[in-house]
């Protein structure tokens, strides 16, 4: 029997070896959700029936001697902006409150083909716009380490579900840090792949040039295994790369790690340690750097001079794209449609649009749609959107240059540990600024990972971030595992869920 903290790798071994049945594993996961999720509210929907049927089918396959995938019997939580045929996909929005997609996302197909058992759809900030999972239409989620704190976001539900031990692995989406930031706040691993590594087919778009499905787990190995399963070419997504995914597991074996550290060159961008960084977080990350140094890695000071503009660039590009991506939610073809009749002399079609959208979207989504519409408007497009693209290209060149000299970059994932619920909801700009460290990877399309590296005095976890060049996932997870192997943070769990 597995415990709450059994890893996906262990579960697979047991299921393959016949020590546990997928049905039992699935039942335990569902029972933990039943017991703990009334407090956390990580899930918007628990797909009990679907999960049970899948688990049974897997057990039947095993009994029949069929091949078992890399995630055989592993319970998986899925962020609710990833399309599933078997459950509603709401994006935590009234606009899609009852929306049931007619197709599965590419990542769902691949995860299920590898034997994953999807136990539910997790909460998020509406349409993945936010960093706290406070802005969903169906209520907020809480941080398993401290129920008064946010789990981060927008993949806060997935992060909390992993941290609370409901599931060993989860899928999130990362547009500006939405996988890594909640991973840091909840003390788990969050991996954002290279842009194009994973098919976006079936991921409801927020900022299409930045969005990427990412993986969350309690260990680097599990996050890497889930990525291995979902990554790879897909003709249905024209931005998906044609490079085949490499075997990440072999990079994490003790043999592969043996003298990896001494060959490792780690870049420390000075812009990651500037004003606004909480001293406790800085101390934890400096501690991690010391561990690498002790292991024999070379430390190199580097700089990304354009990084101070990253937040502005990000919020222009992401909102411009989202204003267009969200235009389709108008109540005409599907989703929420207003029931209010138009005013006597109003144009009925315009009323249908404006009332359906006014009722369908929450405040943060509206704020970003308006910002993006403005950024693309005639007379402003060059000044704002055009300029943002220029700076993005500049930042990319700087990143390429830096990453040609080192294997990975290191820095904090977030400037602070998790904040209290409601603490920042009055000040969206402050929340936007807190994304500084993570959005660079999205703007440059490079892979990045957040792993736990300590705790603040208040007991909340702290995460550090590594970034690697394009398609550098093997080096990235290897560097992350080197640190994880030396530390015990991944074995620390929220006291309330012990």
């Amino acid at each position: 029997m597995g415990s709450t903290w059994t890893t996906a790798a262990e579960i697979r071994t047991r299921v393959v070896g016949g020590e546990s049945s997928a049905t039992d594993i699935c039942g335990q996961s569902l029972a933990r959700i039943d017991a703990g999720d009334s407090e956390i509210r990580a899930f918007l929907e628990v797909t009990r029936e679907h999960a049970t049927l899948r688990a049974r089918a897997l057990d039947a396959d095993r009994a029949a001697g069929g091949p078992l995938g890399l995630l055989a019997g592993v319970p998986l939580a899925v962020k609710d902006n990833i399309c599933t045929r078997f459950a509603r996909t709401t994006c935590a929005s009234q606009a899609l409150a009852e929306y049931r997609p007619p197709f599965d996302a590419a990542v769902i197909e691949r995860a299920e083909r590898a034997g994953a058992v999807i136990v539910g759809k997790t909460n998020l900030d509406e349409f993945a716009m936010g960093s706290s999972t406070e802005y969903g239409a169906f209520g907020l989620s809480r941080n398993p380490w401290n129920l008064e704190c946010v789990p981060g976001g927008s993949s806060g539900g997935s992060a909390a579900a992993v941290a609370a031990g409901f599931v060993p692995v989860a899928l999130g989406s990362d547009t500006g840090g939405s996988v890594r930031q909640p991973a840091a706040f909840c003390g788990v691993v969050g991996l954002k792949p290279t842009y194009g590594r994973v098919s976006r087919f079936g991921l409801v778009a927020y900022g299409s040039s930045l969005d990427q499905v990412g993986t969350m787990a309690r260990t680097v190995g599990d996050a890497a295994a889930l990525l291995e399963v979902i990554a790879g070419p897909d003709p249905r997504d024209s931005t998906c790369l044609t490079d085949p995914m490499v075997d990440l597991g072999s990079r994490l074996s003790d043999a592969a790690l043996a003298d990896a550290a001494r060959k490792l060159r780690i870049g420390i961008p000075r812009e990651f340690f500037g004003a606004g960084l909480d001293p406790e977080v800085e101390q934890a990350v400096r501690g991690a750097i010391a561990v690498y140094q002790r292991l024999g890695a070379a430390l190199i000071d580097v700089s990304l001079p354009s990084m101070p503009h990253a937040v502005a660039v990000y919020y222009l590009i992401a909102t411009a794209e989202c204003s267009s991506n969200l235009a389709r939610f108008d109540g005409v073809h599907y989703g929420h449609r207003t029931s209010r009749p138009p005013q006597p002399r109003a144009n009925p079609t315009e009323h249908l649009y404006s009332a359906s959208r006014a009722e369908g979207f929450g405040a943060e989504a509206k704020r970003r749609i308006i910002l993006g519409t403005f950024a693309l408007s005639a007379g402003y497009a060059d000044k704002y959107y055009g300029k943002a693209l220029q700076v993005r290209r500049l930042l990319n060149r700087e990143m390429q240059d830096v990453l040609s000299r080192v294997d990975v970059l290191i820095g904090p994932t977030t400037p602070t540990a998790a904040f209290r619920i409601g603490e920042k909801s009055a000040n969206p700009l402050q929340i936007y600024l807190a994304d500084t460290y993570t959005i660079v990877a999205n703007l440059c399309g490079v892979p990045a990972i957040s792993i736990p590296c300590g705790f603040a005095r208040c007991g909340l976890p702290i995460g550090m971030q590594l970034m690697a060049p394009h398609l550098g996932e093997p080096a990235l997870v290897q560097a992350a595992r080197l640190y994880e192997r030396e530390t015990d943070w991944h074995n620390c769990h929220p006291p309330a869920f012990q």
Binding site: P102, L203, A205, D330, V332, H333, S377
Partner: protein, 498 residues
């Protein structure tokens, strides 16, 4: 072409936007079939429905057809072409943006040589770009608007001319020749009834009065779907703009371009409610689609494969095959038959005779069967050999037609290509050139018609007619086999010598 109206010289300035639906099997960005008059919303999928999470994939056949059309119009073909989103809200546009091309269209500047009014007019093409069509709003009554999305996502090539057209007649001629070209290249069915070709003329006037020149505001007439409405709309606008100018004196200025619709019953244009300000389409590059790189070698290959265009080919056919100007275009437009004619001629047959046969006996046989000449299925040699036989005088024109009939019969009955020469023998149609024999028939004819000979002596004006009459008698006696030329010569000699 200028008109004189009430002491003013009025020159219409007309540019044309033509939407051409490309003859692909599937839509522009998804695999749905293009099928006219299918049950509403039966040819749709998540992509063309604009469902969240669905992504567009470029139809490469549409790209090829666009390049071929561009090459035929001497356009500069882009090396790199990009997709942009054009935003506006309309119920038949499921994403509320249209995937189009803004500043990097697939086809750049080119021109079209239009024979008009006895000159070759060079109509400059500004650009041609690919885009997806919208669906159709249907108004079944009771204030209900229904939407059929079968057409949504159909591939369109939008061809934009410079304002080089100067009259309704010229614009109509250009549109007709463009349609002919599209059909010829096989890039579009260009079926007006199916809405596969639509026009939006931009019209204004340059008015000269005494020494002053006035330019009226530009009007774009939307969505014309017949040559008749195109012609009517331009004629109407010319008069209306002139009247308006005389009344208000309003001339063109930035921002006073307006859209008008066409009332097909009243044959007039009407002001149209503006959907969105033209400069508020908020164009930006579609982040779901990478740029398309067109290999110059491939473009070169397509250029080499281009057929001879209908206008020059018509001209050549009238010269080489001596086709009447009235009949040549129809033969040329039937490209398979025109190709067959060229192939038959390549083998060395007499071209004028071939031309006569194609318009004569072969057309008759094809018409009887409801096919084109090419549709008869015969090899080019059959046509060439028969033409040669007739040209050498081996058989008469009447006999050639009989042989053609027999060739078709053999082909249909026995799938055998009969040799014209052999048929002429077996059918007894070879012309007799034996002087002695012909002379004998001539003597017989003279003997039987002594009154006619007497007439010819009395009235030399009648001599030619009598000669023809006697030749007819010889033909009867010889069962059509006497060489007609020689017969006439012998008759003439005999009449003179009497």
């Amino acid at each position: 072409m200028s008109l004189a109206i009430d002491g003013c010289v009025v020159e219409p300035i007309i540019g044309l936007e033509v939407h051409l639906q490309l003859a692909t099997r599937t839509k522009m960005f998804c695999g749905c079939a293009l099928e006219f008059a299918a049950p509403p919303n039966s040819r749709v999928c998540p992509v063309c429905l604009g469902l969240p999470g669905a992504l567009p994939v470029v139809n490469s056949h549409a790209v090829e057809l666009a390049v071929r059309t561009g090459l035929a119009m001497h356009c500069r073909i882009a090396r790199v072409t990009r997709w942009d989103r054009k935003s506006y809200y309309y119920p038949d546009l499921p994403k509320n943006y249209q995937i189009s091309q803004y500043d990097q269209p697939i086809c750049g500047p080119g021109h079209f040589e239009l024979p008009f009014g006895g000159h070759i007019r060079k109509i400059r093409i500004r650009r041609a770009h690919l885009e997806e069509d919208a669906g159709k709003n249907i108004h079944p009554g009771d204030g209900i608007t229904a939407v059929d999305l079968n057409r949504a996502g159909a591939p369109l090539l939008e061809i934009v001319t410079e304002p080089d057209l100067r009259s309704a007649d010229e614009a109509k001629e250009f549109a007709e020749q463009l349609r002919r070209l599209a059909a010829y290249l096989g890039v579009s069915e260009a079926n007006m009834m199916k809405g596969q070709m639509r026009f939006e003329p931009n019209i204004n006037l340059r008015i000269r009065k005494a020494e002053a020149v006035f330019v009226t505001p530009i009007v774009e007439v939307k969505n014309l779907n017949s040559f008749r409405s195109l012609h009517g709309a331009i004629e109407y606008e010319v008069q209306r703009q002139f009247d308006e100018w005389r009344e208000t004196g309003r001339t063109t200025a930035v921002g006073n371009k307006s859209n008008r619709g066409w009332d097909d019953v009243g044959m007039r244009t009407l002001p149209q409610r503006e959907k969105e300000e033209a400069d508020q389409y908020r164009y930006f590059p579609d982040p779901d689609l990478p740029v398309v790189k067109l290999d110059p070698a491939w473009v070169e290959h397509l250029a080499e494969e281009l057929p001879e265009m209908p206008i020059p080919r018509t001209e050549r056919f009238t010269c080489e095959y001596k086709l009447p100007v009235r009949d040549a275009p129809a033969l040329v437009d039937d490209r398979a038959t025109a190709d067959l004619l060229d192939h038959a001629a390549e083998a060395g047959a007499d071209k004028a005779t071939l031309g006569k046969h194609f318009l004569g006996c072969w057309s008759k046989l094809a018409n009887e069967r409801g096919v084109t000449v090419a549709g008869l299925g015969l090899p080019p040699t059959a046509f060439g050999e028969l033409a040669e036989l007739a040209h050498r005088g081996v058989v008469s024109a009447t006999a050639a037609a009989q042989i053609a009939g027999e060739i078709v019969r053999c082909w249909e009955a026995e799938r055998r290509t009969a040799k014209p020469e052999a048929l002429a023998e077996t059918m007894g149609l070879v012309q007799n050139r034996d002087e002695g024999q012909i002379l004998e028939w001539v003597e017989q004819a003279l003997a039987a018609n002594s009154k006619a000979i007497a007439d010819s002596r009395e009235n030399p004006k009648k001599a030619a007619a009598i000669c023809g009459f006697l030749a007819g008698q010889v033909m009867k006696l010889s069962a059509g086999r006497a060489d007609p030329k020689r017969t006439r010569e012998l008759i003439a000699q005999r009449l003179e010598s009497v």
